[in-house]
Subunit: 191 residues, 2 copies
């Protein structure tokens, strides 16, 4: 595989496991099997690497969300799939998703990277809001309220549940924290 992609893959794994400050070019060089200086050829500054990471991640998630919409007709099924994305990203409590890792390491990030992160959050909220608007129509979600507030609550819940789950190294915390959310999406709710 292309060296640049290999670097991004290893860097992403490191960021999600140990945070943005938790890995250095030295670590990455050892992982990948090249020298520090060679990484600088692909990503002159660490901020360039961070930017490419969040850019690639945003694109990937965007694709997944489109796939979900193509595959699942009801709002409830779409939200279940969204929940599963966060659940799967936890990797048993060892990792968080890249957006949580970047939100957490916000103080070390440059402005362009933070802009990308905020853009990603905006896109997520927009997608969720649209799904909750659909929910108000198809009745597949119990107790619907304001779609934008629901969207922001969902994003906060997923990110917070990942955060505390990794702190405790225990996935069951994520499951408990999101249990009530998931139960609103029960197939039994479809009329």
């Amino acid at each position: 595989m292309d060296t640049r992609t290999t670097l991004l893959d290893h860097a992403e794994r490191a960021v999600r496991q140990r945070g943005y400050n938790g890995f250095s070019y030295a670590d990455l060089a050892r992982d990948v099997g090249i020298r520090k200086a060679s990484i600088h050829h692909h990503f002159p500054k660490k901020a360039d690497l961070a930017f490419s990471l969040i850019e690639r991640y945003a694109g990937r998630v965007s694709e997944r969300l489109a796939e979900i919409c193509a595959r699942e007709p009801t709002a409830a099924a779409r939200l279940r799939a969204y929940h599963q994305l966060y659940r799967a990203a936890l990797a048993g409590g060892a990792q968080v998703c890249l957006c949580v890792a970047f939100s957490a390491g916000r103080d070390s990030l440059t402005d362009p990277v933070l802009e990308q992160l905020n853009a990603f959050h905006r896109d997520s909220v927009d997608w969720l809001q649209t799904v909750f608007e659909q929910a108000a129509q198809d009745g597949s979600v119990a107790a619907p309220s304001d779609p934008q507030a629901e969207a922001r609550a969902t994003l906060a819940l997923m990110e917070g549940a990942q955060l505390v789950s990794r702190a405790a190294k225990d996935v069951s915390h994520f499951d408990q924290a999101t249990a009530a959310f998931v139960s609103r999406l029960s197939p039994a709710q479809i009329h």
Copy 2:
């Protein structure tokens, strides 16, 4: 005031604004007006400072929760007060509370500090669970479900809402993310 306390105060502010890696003994020395070496007299290692921070924080929150129970009789009023603790700690989007800052900076913390953090989370969940059990009795909270799951969901929601709110530097995100939670606590729900 006592130097040790002054150091803790400034360190806490720095951690909550810029994260655990976002401040150094050099910064702290400049803020407080003494030399780096003098800080090492009070806190030999940075991990000692971190431990004292979370210890003091846990004690302070514990007092606040006891006060809330003494002051507010209903479960709904207690949860509203709990929500207000997190709301106030945001300081307009400039800060997060110490437990969120530490959860986010988890990779840089030593084991004793992480244990304190997890103990704090356990205590918070216990307190919330007790309140949600009370809610099932006094009927002051709408749509009650499993108390432990509710407790973990509440903690995750508060921490996640702070995280995304600080990333966007916008308190209104916290308010929107927690709006549905708060509306379940409306005084109108009391029977």
